[in-house]
Symmetry: C2
Subunit: 196 residues, 2 copies
Amino acid sequence: MSAAPQARKQPTQRRAIETFAAIVEAAARILETGDAEALNTNRIAERAGVSVGTLYQYFPDKHAILVALIRREREVLLSELRAIQDGGEEVLQQMVDVSIRHQFARPRLAAALEHIEASFPMGEEADEMAREIASISSGLLARRFGPLDPTDLLTAVIIARSLVNAAGEGLLPEAGLRERVVKALEGYLRAVSSRD
Amino acid sequence: MSAAPQARKQPTQRRAIETFAAIVEAAARILETGDAEALNTNRIAERAGVSVGTLYQYFPDKHAILVALIRREREVLLSELRAIQDGGEEVLQQMVDVSIRHQFARPRLAAALEHIEASFPMGEEADEMAREIASISSGLLARRFGPLDPTDLLTAVIIARSLVNAAGEGLLPEAGLRERVVKALEGYLRAVSSRD
DNA sequence: ACATTATCCGAGCAATGACTCAGTTTTTCT
DNA sequence: AGAAAAACTGAGTCATTGCTCGGATAATGT
């Protein structure tokens, strides 16, 4: 029955808001190093240009910093996905484009967060965002391929993610990635859907 | 120019060989716990029923234990894949079956190693095994779908792995997994290959 | 100007964990 | 049996790291 780690102070003055953001960004920068071992609170504070004490004024523990970072990233992705929700024809390609752009904006960071997300519980709010991302993605796919079994939808999302991630980590070439993802999705979903 | 961590003593007596194996298996058991933080050398030694000193007689450092564990797992997968290389008709299904069986033999362990592999360099020998696994898989796919672009082959392998892993982590139901993977691979590879 | 609140500092504590070493026990060899 | 080699022990060392706390500095309100 350990209590969920309480948020600390929320920053009100401009200076404090910048400090908060600097800490989160410092964590991101360290993760981009690739050396996950180097992610400790002392180093985060140093890279953020603040002291450890300050850090702990806004984050109850180390974990909370990661949660904030993941929230920050998911918010970007979510708003981009929402934007194409009421888009026009080629929803599938647009959706793939958004994922690719998101992944390649900061590929090393995206890859690092991928692993972190898998190994920690991220808290109710972040989970809710993940659910919404999955739900929007599924909705877009359904619009293109008609009503589908939820498991098939999920399968498609997993395929898309794995390919984009692999490319982000350098395993697959970025060139032609979009076409490849679209082909894979169409191949699977056509085999599974009734219409078209 | 840090030297690669040297292997220490290789066990020659029966007792020592069992000790070595017990240490590797202890690491595996701890990883299956899901609590990656709990993987420390003191705990590994304790679970293996030996002292820390003994542990360090066979492994130069903690990292080496994980390398040994990953080698152990890859060896199993490799020999199973090699076995079907000269198999009969349904090579694709056989290959998918092997992957699925491997993943579901110890799903939590497989998932944990997945993340570890991604975040550490695993050394020349283990890398070689990974390359061979990929190469055999590609060969099997090529036999079924004809000569293909290497990137397309790799794409197919990634798709298969991601689906099997997702199921291993409980995201996707195990029921019907094989059919799903086969469908995804066929969908993509048919779209990409010329024949059939 | 003065008080009050917000923000920040950073030495240092307590816990943890990777790894060593001096000595003991077990096995092997002759 | 006796000696040498191999295997094992576990308390202890040293470095790292998450986090606290007492006090300093800056912003805000009157």
